[in-house]
Amino acid sequence: MLNLIKYEMRKTWKIKAILLVITAVLQVVFLIGLYGENETALGIGTGFLFMTAIVGVAVIGIYSIILLRNDLNTKQSYMLFMTPNNSYKILGAKAIECGLSVWIIGLFFTALGALDGILVLEKFNELDSLFKIIKAMLADIGEFTTPTLFSYAAAMLASALFSIATAFFAVVLSATLLNGKKYNGFISVFVFFAIQILVGYIFNKLPFDLDMVNVAGGLTTAGFYVIPTVIMFFITAWIMDNKLSV
């Protein structure tokens, strides 16, 4: 399993390196703007860093789906499926690599954003104002503590992983049961959205506190999304083990 994860990471390092280089360039632009007192550079750096953070996390998730598609539909699939590993391990390695990447990159951008925010306010000697603003915000949304932050992050991660697990399922469905059928791609995309909407609908009908900005709500949300994610994972791996021909 560790070897599988290692090679999944090897497959994705280029896209991560590109993301890191783009972020580094934008960070330099941001710092030049900040300390060179160039408002244009500061604006460009801030805006594009924010955009890179959001797009970057999404790109990592989408890239893992593209990789699975390539691993099922090209001759490189032999590299995976002739090894003595069952589909649960192969898919599990992909899911773990993707989950870890999304989590670490999300954490990285959150930390970078916090650092840049502090630099801005320090530069303008307004750190005290920052803390006042944060306190005022927290007063509005309730107690914002470290556990709250982590439960919120867990909820976001679980929800993202569910989307990725559903996408894995749709890709595998397309390569197996729908392979060679008319409208194969269209049907698998439809199945993806149908599952997402159905699970979202069930989530909204739950009689629990689902406010993610408190510990109970965050953990409940995370716990909820773990269930369909695990179900999707096992169904997908079972289909791969029993129906996949590469």
């Binding site: 070897n3 290692k6 090679y7 090897r10 497959k11 280029k14 001759k75 490189q76 699939s77 032999y78 590299m79 499926f81 002739m82 090894t83 003595p84 590993n85 069952n86 060679g180 029993n242 129906k243 996949l244 021909s245 590469v246």
Partner: protein
């Protein structure tokens, strides 16, 4: 022992393998022969588990093929299948990571003989170099079943000799080699048995020596006879 039991594979609009049953024993080198599209590759891929049969079974040592059999069956596909980012050294490391029977020492010996540099990127290899690399990495395993799908495709005579030499060196009483090829004459001096597949069906399994002694024909003659160009017709 490798047993194919009424194995059938149907694709949309085509039956690639049709009800093939046969038993193959260790200690033999088999040629798997048939024209393009006759079902050789599909049958090999079913043995490795890359393709699921529509019906029937492949049994290896009395058990259906699965994860345990992949540890003992080495498959060399006809197409290039290594990841683009890999160097020749990466390919060996990959096999070492996943196959317990892989020998890095043997891999390097074979690479040396085939004059392949470990630093070369697989995506930049010529078809001849790629064929040699595939054979080297496959034959560096101490597998019980070797399946080589068209190992001589697209390579020159010298490279063919090297590839065949590397392949037959691995032949032992406790393993079997199954080599598919269109180049019947090339295989004739190497194999001891031949499996003929025609129109997705098994057309016969022949012992080469028995063919010579009992029927007075070579493997190439038998091939022509089975696949429509009878030797007698040439007279």
């Amino acid at each position: 022992m490798l047993e194919s039991i009424e194995i059938t594979k149907k694709f949309v609009g085509k039956t690639a393998v049709d009800n093939i049953s046969m038993k193959l024993e260790s200690g033999h080198i088999y040629a798997l022969l048939g024209p393009n599209g006759s079902g050789k590759t599909t049958w090999m891929k079913m043995v490795t588990g890359l393709i699921k049969p529509t019906s029937g079974y492949i049994m290896y040592n009395g058990a259906p093929i699965g994860i345990p059999s992949r540890r003992e069956i080495a498959y060399m596909a006809t197409e290039p299948y290594f990841y683009d980012w890999m160097t020749i050294a990466d390919v060996g490391k990959y096999y070492q990571d996943f196959f317990e029977d892989f020998s890095m020492e043997k891999y390097h010996t074979l690479l040396g003989r085939m004059e392949l540099d470990t630093k070369m990127k697989t995506k930049n290899l010529s078809s001849g170099m790629m064929a040699k690399l595939k054979v080297a990495v496959t034959m560096a395993r101490n597998a019980k079943v070797f399946l080589l799908d068209e190992p001589l495709n697209g390579i020159d005579l010298i490279a063919r000799d090297e590839v065949m030499q590397a392949a037959i060196e691995n032949a032992a009483p406790d393993n079997m080699l199954i080599i598919s090829s269109h180049l019947v004459e090339e295989l004739e001096s190497v194999v001891d048995s031949a499996i003929f597949i025609k129109d997705a069906k098994l057309a016969g399994i022949y012992n080469i020596e028995e063919l010579r002694q009992n029927e007075g024909v070579s493997l190439a003659d038998k091939y022509r006879e089975v696949f429509g160009h009878a030797v007698g017709g040439e007279n």
